[in-house]
């Protein structure tokens, strides 16, 4: 009985990868009780993935290295039981769904596991139907797996593991590459699973606004050690702790943290969701509200508008001029349906929208990678129909989502030289520029290291750096923060806003609305190949209904301010600081 109470039990586990100097896991002891929902958090490189590979025996059975300590999963010792047998008790969903899908059709793929266990055909059919229903893929049986969307692929990957009916489900960052709709689909699926049966779930994530209420427990790993474990709400109210672990805090909690620091509320009162933040602000406003904050704010806005107008007049050639742009696929489907757009030099624009809304297609037109079916795209006065991509590359840079699609050199330095050589630069000039960018991006110490020996965050930085050497006036960045942890996101965004301040026009494609709200000065929303909203973040995010229609969830703080409309006089606030401006900074002056 004692044995089965714990679904997962790690005792003093350490592991070192064969070629590594430092161990990746250090004396990890951890027990997960049966039927619990535990979230494993921590920065990139903290050992989360390594730990999950230990649980199903891939470490040490497939990956070599030095493993010490005991690991038992569903009553089995992972060293003594084959990975394939362990899979029946513990299902592990790995990071990239693309490489976990083995079958050509959804049905064939889902059946793969049970077929290996020689489950009879009738039983397989029953299980496949049941599992596909659970992950909300009913009716997808004969669909080709290659044609599924990102979210569907991820759910299929979960189905492929669930169909083996494990007692424990381990998911390694199942939502890192999904848009908000895809993410919520995954979390709803997990919810369903929790409700339906006694499944133990271990979820590896680096940020989780969504599951904070659902999880029973959070375990934080930091550099291979368990540094914190307890109730999620406790962790997320302690902003200092979050900063230390490199975990993204929940936006509304930042407002609460400020109140707490001023001594207005206790730690336990820090709000973690919108309704409680709303209640808190309404309760505090009469006590500590600032009398003139609205007038002050209006003044600021006027100033901003004026500045914008001046800017418009002084510029002659727009950085980007898109007129009546239509793009049609060979299949005849229109990806872009008549887009008109002007972006002035020095703007910071965010392109948002659901997957397949046309964001990337539009961005590729700017770079000349796609040519318009009809209409024109002018980049700094150059028509993309007349200039090819390599000619445009000195003016406009494009950083792609996955750095691994471009890295091919043996050192970081050589990787950066590639673009310069293509552009026809010679000796000294190349050296100087590479030097400059290496310093600027903080990659100096990796100069002669092989790019693939670095972490994902650094590789992302290399991709950015390899574009920056060309000193483009305009920079397009496609999902610069996918798969990065919070501190990685901070570094990347700091670099981007530094570039923006130096005068580079930035066009950023992102699913992370908090980032968009925080950094972008203008937001363009695409839906089905058309621009449906265009304006500053405050304006755009206040159109909650239109956004929800195009499957965008506005950032938490703008949702909060729309609930506080009556006190805010229709203003939309998107930064924690804006909310704080409503209150007296010194405290006790009461003027309402």
């Amino acid at each position: 009985m004692e044995l089965f109470e714990n679904a997962i039990k790690l005792n003093n586990v350490s592991y070192r990868y064969p070629s590594a100097v430092e161990p990746c896991l250090k004396n990890v002891s951890l027990t997960v009780r049966k039927g619990k929902f535990v979230v494993l958090m921590g920065a990139t490189g903290a050992g989360k993935t390594t730990l999950s590979l230990c649980l199903n025996g891939l470490i040490p059975q497939l990956l070599e290295g030095e493993l010490t300590g005991q690991i038992s999963v569903a009553g089995h010792d992972v060293r003594k039981t084959a990975v394939q047998s362990l899979a029946r008790g513990l299902g592990l969903v790995l990071q990239d769904p693309e490489t976990q899908i083995i079958g050509r059709t959804v049905e064939e793929d889902t059946a793969f596991g049970p077929r290996n266990f020689l489950v009879p055909l009738e039983e397989i059919k029953r299980r496949v139907n049941q599992t596909l229903q659970k992950v909300r893929l009913t009716g997808y049986h004969s669909r080709l797996t290659e044609e599924l969307s990102g979210g569907e692929k991820q759910r299929l990957a979960i189905a492929g593991v669930l169909v083996m009916e494990p007692e424990i489900l381990v998911l390694d960052e199942p939502t890192s590459e999904l848009d908000p709709v895809g993410r919520s689909e995954i979390y709803e699926t997990l919810d369903d699973l929790r409700r339906e049966r006694d499944l133990t779930i271990l979820l590896v994530e680096h940020s989780l606004e969504e599951v904070i209420k659902k999880a029973d427990e959070v375990v934080v790993l930091n550099q291979g050690e368990v540094v914190w474990r307890g109730v999620p709400t406790e962790l997320f109210r302690n902003i200092l702790l979050l900063r230390q672990f490199g975990i993204k805090p929940i936006p509304v909690s930042l407002i609460g943290w400020d109140f707490y620091k001023r001594g207005w509320i206790s730690l336990a009162d820090i709000p973690l969701d919108i309704p409680s933040a709303e209640r808190l602000i309404r309760a505090l406003l009469p006590k500590y509200g600032h009398c003139q904050w609205l007038e002050q704010r209006k003044g600021q806005q006027k100033g901003r508008l004026l500045r914008k107008r001046e800017l418009n007049q002084s510029e002659k050639v727009s950085a980007v001029q898109v007129s009546d742009l239509i793009y049609q696929y060979n299949s005849g489907r229109q990806a872009l349906k008549g887009i008109n757009l002007t972006i002035e030099a020095g703007e910071f624009v965010a392109l948002i929208g659901q997957n397949s809304a046309g964001k990337t297609t539009l961005a590729k037109h700017l770079k000349g990678l796609l040519k318009p079916t009809s209409g024109n795209v002018l980049i700094d006065g150059m028509n993309t129909l007349q200039y090819d991509t390599s000619q445009l590359s000195k003016t406009i840079g494009y950083v792609f989502q996955n750095p691994d699609h471009q890295i091919f050199s043996v050192t970081v330095e050589k990787e950066l030289e590639f673009g310069l050589k293509n552009a026809g630069f010679k000796g000294q000039e190349i050296k100087e520029r590479v030097e400059q960018v290496l310093q600027y991006t903080g990659l100096e110490r990796y100069r002669s290291v092989h790019p693939f020996s670095l972490g994902k965050g650094e590789r992302q930085m290399i991709a950015v750096a390899s574009i920056l050497v060309l000193k483009p006036k305009l920079l397009i960045i496609d999902e610069p923060t996918t798969g990065s942890d919070w501190s990685g996101v901070q570094t990347m965004m700091a670099l981007i806003s530094q570039l923006h301040t130096a005068g580079t026009t930035i066009i950023m494609i992102s699913h992370d609305m908090d980032l968009v709200a925080q950094y972008a000065k203008r937001v363009i929303v695409l839906k089905d190949g058309s621009v449906i909203l265009d304006g500053n973040p405050q304006e755009v995010f206040s159109n909650e209904e239109i956004l929800l229609n195009s499957a965008i969830v506005p950032p938490q703080l703008s949702r909060l301010s729309s609930r506080l409309k009556d006190v805010l006089c229709q203003e939309t606030l998107i930064e924690p600081g804006d909310f704080m401006a409503m209150f007296e900074s010194e405290g006790k002056t009461k003027c309402l």
């Binding site: 497939l62 050509r104 990678l369 390599s390």
Partner: protein, 270 residues
């Protein structure tokens, strides 16, 4: 080149994969039995009728044939010149039509030309027959066939995985190409080494990505119990229906007939 499976419900679609393979083998044997182009024409007409029946996209077949025309013409010419009269049995084939060079050298035999025509028609019927086969038989059926033929699970697994990953790798290739183009890579260098060198920025990330993918694929497969036992559950048990027995009967009968005609009656040789 490859005509993909299109799910429909003709008799050919419903036939068991083993029957179809036997039929395909029958056509192959038939066309290698006879040297006379008239017999080849017969087998081509037959496969053509099958193709017409299941409505193969004619344009696709045309697209497959046009690039072959120069090769076909040169085959006819070469056989015409190189097949010496001694190689033929019948007098009409031994006849020399004309000499290409003065002094009765490099004679062109009638049989040679006929042989060339046979080669051409043989090629056509093979192509049509294999198109008919792939168009009416799903990938799943083929793996079933391998399994029934006692080909190890690994082999059919390899085949299906390879086919599954073709679109994925193609997508990767496009992404890599775009990423390098965005850095100003040009792909039209001159010389012998030029083109190879300019493709390195594509090939290296392609290899690295494939290896990474293969690595995680192997983890995912172990993770789902692959290799636990030597076999696995078949998703669909294929079984012969009465129509299969009829079809097999007809195939065997026609083959026997063909062999009789060829070896007893000595017909169809040049």
């Amino acid at each position: 080149m490859f005509i993909e499976y299109s799910p429909e419900n003709t008799l050919l679609h419903r036939l068991d994969v083993r029957t179809k393979m036997l039929g395909f083998l029958g056509i192959v044997i038939f066309s290698f039995l006879f040297q006379d182009p008239r017999y080849q024409l017969l087998s081509m007409t037959f496969t053509g009728l099958l193709a017409f029946w299941i409505k193969i996209p004619l344009r696709k077949i045309g697209g497959m044939l046009t690039p072959l025309i120069p090769i076909i013409l040169s085959i006819i010419l070469i056989t015409g010149f190189t097949f010496a009269p001694e190689r033929f049995v019948q007098a009409s084939s031994q006849a020399i039509l004309f000499y290409a060079l003065p002094g009765d050298r490099l004679g062109v035999t009638g049989g040679g030309f006929l042989m060339g025509t046979t080669f051409m028609l043989r090629l056509f019927s093979m192509m049509i027959a294999s198109s008919v086969l792939t168009l009416t038989t799903s990938m799943d059926d083929f793996t079933q066939f391998f399994q029934k033929m006692k080909v190890p699970v690994e082999a059919s697994m390899m085949l299906t995985t390879a086919i599954r990953f073709i679109p994925t790798l193609d997508k990767k290739r496009r992404l890599i190409l775009e990423a390098q183009k965005a850095r100003g890579a040009k792909f039209n260098d001159k010389g012998i080494i030029g083109p190879i060198r300019s493709y390195l920025p594509i090939m290296i990330p392609m290899f690295i990505n494939s290896i990474l993918m293969a690595n995680s694929l192997s983890m995912a497969m172990l993770n789902r119990g692959y290799g636990l036992s030597q076999t696995w559950t078949s998703l669909r048990e294929i079984a012969f229906a009465p129509r299969d027995y009829w079809a097999i009967f007809i195939i065997v009968l026609s083959l026997t007939l063909a062999i009789f005609v060829r070896f007893r009656l000595h017909l169809g040789i040049l």
